[in-house]
């Protein structure tokens, strides 16, 4: 009888055991490492998205904002009656000194040079610096003026009496530094501001009319009458039509914080670029409709489309799913037919989502086109109607999540103890009465949680809806189940596929919105689950 490799003894035994234990320790660390990798992957994902959603951007304007404002008011000042301009401060000073009705602007040195014959007019509520409003020493009435009077003094007024009652009826003679001189610019910047966002409505309207073609003005008036637009709408109009910012380059948050000098150096290479720190996800982003220009694009159309589609999915698949689950659990006999249905449902749960999209395309979009396009109910425009509507999308997604809801609901119904049903039968209730009054109310929390999770899955589905036919260029909000649509995940897909850098940032911002919505849905599900959790 040969002895094969026998169990070690003595010292060998100790070494053997130690080796096995060491192997255990090594593998345990490997397992822990694998787990860390999983967690790290999630963190990197979230960090990447946040990283892309904020950062420095280099913006090029067609017309710079301050140029627009200063140019406008400069034009207004130069068009005032009785204006003379000159590059020569000394000449201006002499002219003002010699005329009691004259008023003008000089820089500090120009004023000091003839301080003997000139007096400075103080602007009481907003004192000017680097530039002085001057009048002749012979001017006995104007000592102080308010900033409003200052604006009137250099604008359309004819006589001194138009500026303030009690002043003489003499015409104002204005002496200004030459157009585009620094003195004139700083005067306008201090008096009127240089940001379009702070200008009054009349000024904005005038700027718009100056820079926008007549045809475009007519189009804007058609969209909404001029009087109905608010000041903020005018600011937006000016920004979009006149200033026309385009994003020339973007940088991630990480680069913006840690490599700021490199960012600035790269930005300096882009002509006429202004560098700002921009947060891509803002309230405007959520409430603006889709646009082909990344600077003005928003996700409102997509969010509304998503909500509509998920709503249709809800009202279709949740009742049908719960009903099917009730049938299989309560009325089912367990026979061949029921087994077949059950196998079927399990198979369907494993079918790729894009196949559902193709099913939806062939059945809901093409075969049932009169129904889904709304022409059956005569609600659709005959020339543009087709089956690629919210209704078709909702039904497709409904079929997709139906197996999930059925499986979930079955589990919930199964978890209600038999004793409840038997007690109800014992009191003489029929089967449906038992289900409706006893089983369902106790199963609803589980059903609800499962349904909310299925809905959040439907929220994030992209492929089936692309196949069913989400619109690529849609700017109007959906108005009902027969509208064309786009959804938030599809918007993300389209923006990610564009080459310009700004679209990647937009996609990141849209992803944040999507994840926030899903987080809210899942949180509701978890809260409901914890609140209604019963153990029997």
């Amino acid at each position: 009888m040969t002895k094969n490799a026998s169990f070690p003894e003595g010292q060998d035994l100790n070494r053997f055991i130690k080796r096995r234990q060491q192997k255990g320790v090594i593998w345990r660390s490997l397992f822990l490492l694998a787990t860390t990798i999983g967690v790290v992957a999630l963190m990197i994902l979230l960090i990447t998205i946040i990283d892309d959603s904020m950062g420095y951007v280099a913006i090029q304007y067609k017309v710079e904002p301050d140029d627009l404002v200063i140019g406008f008011y400069q034009g207004m000042a130069l068009d005032a009656p009785n204006v003379q301009t000159s590059n020569d401060m000394a000449w201006l000073a002499d002219a003002i000194a010699g005329d009691a009705n004259a008023v003008g602007l000089l820089d500090e040195t120009g004023y000091q040079a003839r301080a003997d014959a000139l007096q400075a007019i103080d602007v009481t509520d907003a004192p000017l610096h680097d530039v002085v409003v001057v009048a002749s020493k012979d001017n006995s009435w104007a000592q102080n003026i308010s900033s409003l009077e200052l604006m009137n003094l250099f604008a359309v007024t004819e006589n001194w009496s138009d500026v303030r009652d009690g002043w003489p009826d003499a015409p104002i003679r204005r002496y200004l530094p030459a157009p585009d001189s620094p003195a004139l610019h700083t005067f306008i910047a201090q008096t009127y501001g240089d940001n379009p966002a702070t200008q009054p409505t009349e000024a904005l309207l005038a700027m718009l009319v100056q820079h926008v073609s007549a045809g475009k003005m007519r189009q804007l008036i058609d969209e909404k009458p001029l009087a109905a637009r608010t000041r903020e709408e005018y600011v937006d109009l000016i920004t979009e039509q006149v200033l026309a910012p385009t994003v020339a380059a973007t940088w991630s948050l990480f680069d913006s914080i840690f490599h700021a000098e490199t960012v600035m150096a790269e930005a300096a290479q882009i002509p006429r670029a202004q560098v700002q720190f921009h947060r891509w996800i803002t309230w405007d982003f959520i409430t603006s409709p889709q646009s082909s220009k990344p600077e003005f694009a928003g996700v409102r159309t997509a969010i509304l489309g998503s909500l509509w589609v998920v709503f249709i999915t809800l009202i279709f698949s949740v009742p049908v799913g719960i009903g099917a689950a009730i049938y299989l659990e309560e009325y089912g006999s367990g026979g061949r037919l029921d087994q077949f249905i059950e196998n079927n449902i399990n198979n369907l749960a494993g079918v790729p989502s894009i196949i559902y999209g193709m099913l939806g395309l062939a059945v809901f979009v093409r075969a049932l086109e009169p129904l889904t396009s709304g022409s059956l109910f005569e609600l659709a425009n005959p020339t543009t109607a087709n089956g690629r509507t919210i209704l078709a999308a909702g039904l497709t997604l409904g079929l997709l999540i139906l197996p999930i809801i059925i499986i979930n609901a079955r589990e919930a119904i199964r978890s209600v103890p038999r004793a409840f049903r038997e007690a109800s039968y014992g009191l003489g209730a029929t089967q449906w009465q038992t289900i409706w009054y006893h089983v369902l109310p106790n199963a609803i929390p589980g059903i609800l949680t499962g349904s909310i999770l299925a809905i959040s899955r439907a929220f994030g589905e992209t492929a089936p809806l692309v196949v069913v036919g989400a619109s690529t260029a849609i700017f109007m909000d959906p108005s009902g189940p027969f509208s064309k649509f786009t959804t938030l995940p599809i918007q993300i897909y389209q923006w990610t596929s564009r080459p310009q850098a700004a679209f990647q940032n937009l996609a990141a911002a849209a992803i944040i919105v999507l994840l926030a919505l899903l987080l809210a849905l899942n949180a509701i599900a978890v809260i409901l689950r914890n609140k209604y959790q019963r153990s029997y």
Binding site: K23, R28, A34, A324, P352, I355, L402, W432, G460, Y493
Partner: protein
């Protein structure tokens, strides 16, 4: 006083079961709801087969062309499905190489080693990973994984659209799936098996690898197959990150030259990516592109259906009942 003596025996109840019409109607309606799922499967099969039949009925399409051609360009008469299947196979292979080891290790850790507190912290994280929409993963693949690969391996080797980054991110996508199914399978093994092993002097590692894992093998295989099936059917990640055109070759010699067919760092469109790209554009219902979509869809459906059947057979045949 007139006595109205009414005794219990004077009341003659009608004890026959009353037929309630409402009950029957409700039962029939619920049956219809349940049967809707059968209608769905029927619909899928009918639609895919009939439209694919229209594709194969076209004169320029032959079965041999479909299976043996080395490029997919329907416009000029090339209908080789294997180009697309190859790309799907590559991405799924890379995904499984990433997800299977990681998933198994995390599952073993969760099932055998982790304290309840760690498990309570890790399971929600896995649930969050599972709940993230695939579009987000696609964005992640394009904006993080591809530059990372380019930085590690070199920008001239790794194209902007490549199979590897899509595959790796699909792996991350299916990681929670494998982990949760494998962990369920491992936890279902009764504790008595483990205790028997400990009683014989085995270490924790030996118990986990040599006793528990083989005992849960049917569930683990089912998890493995479900994960492959999910990876094969994945659409958005490959649509965004792995390229906008099939990797076509003039002939099979070119395909195998330098293993060009299997290069993971170049672009290659998968079956699902192709379907999404074509149907996302303007497509006329009579064109050959439209019909070809359903042929690809049918292939995809048959593959995942077969995998599903195999996985259920394995579970049924090899499931250990304790």
């Amino acid at each position: 006083m007139i006595s109205n003596n009414v005794s219990a025996t004077d009341i003659v109840p009608d004890l026959q079961k009353q037929h309630r019409w409402g009950e029957s109607i409700i039962q029939a309606m619920l049956f219809l709801f349940a049967a809707l799922s059968v209608l769905t499967t029927l619909g899928i099969i009918v639609v895919l087969f009939s439209q694919a039949f229209r594709f194969f009925a076209r004169p320029e399409v032959t079965l041999s062309n479909f299976f043996t051609d080395s490029s997919w360009q329907p416009q000029i008469g090339h209908f080789g499905i294997f180009v697309l299947i190859n790309a799907t196979f590559l991405t799924s292979l890379i995904a499984m190489l990433v997800a299977l080891p990681l998933g198994m290790m995390i599952a073993i850790y969760l099932a055998e080693y982790a304290s309840p507190r760690t498990r309570g912290a890790l399971k929600p994280i896995l649930e969050v990973l599972a709940g993230i929409p695939t579009v987000v993963y696609g964005y992640f693949a394009l904006t993080f994984m591809t530059p990372l690969l380019q930085r590690i391996i070199g920008q001239d080797v790794v194209e902007i659209f490549n199979v590897a980054s899509a595959g790796i991110v699909i792996g991350i996508l299916i990681l929670p799936l494998i982990t949760s199914m494998a962990e369920d399978a491992l936890s279902a093994v009764p504790y008595s098996l483990r205790e028997a092993a400990y009683g014989l002097g085995a270490t924790k590692l030996e118990t986990a690898l040599k006793v528990v894992t083989p005992a849960a093998m049917s569930g683990l295989t089912a998890a493995f197959i479900v994960a492959i099936s999910r990876a094969i059917g994945e659409t958005m990640i490959v649509a965004i990150a792995s390229g906008a055109g099939p990797r076509n070759f003039k002939n099979w010699q070119d395909a195998f030259h330098n293993l060009a067919m299997f290069n993971p760092f170049k672009a290659a469109e998968t079956m699902t990516g192709h379907i999404v790209r074509i149907s996302g554009g303007d497509i006329s219902y009579e064109s050959i592109d439209y019909d070809s979509l359903f042929a690809i869809g049918l292939t995809l459906f048959l593959i995942t259906f077969a995998l599903n059947i195999i996985s259920r057979q394995i579970v049924k045949r090899f499931r250990e009942v304790y």
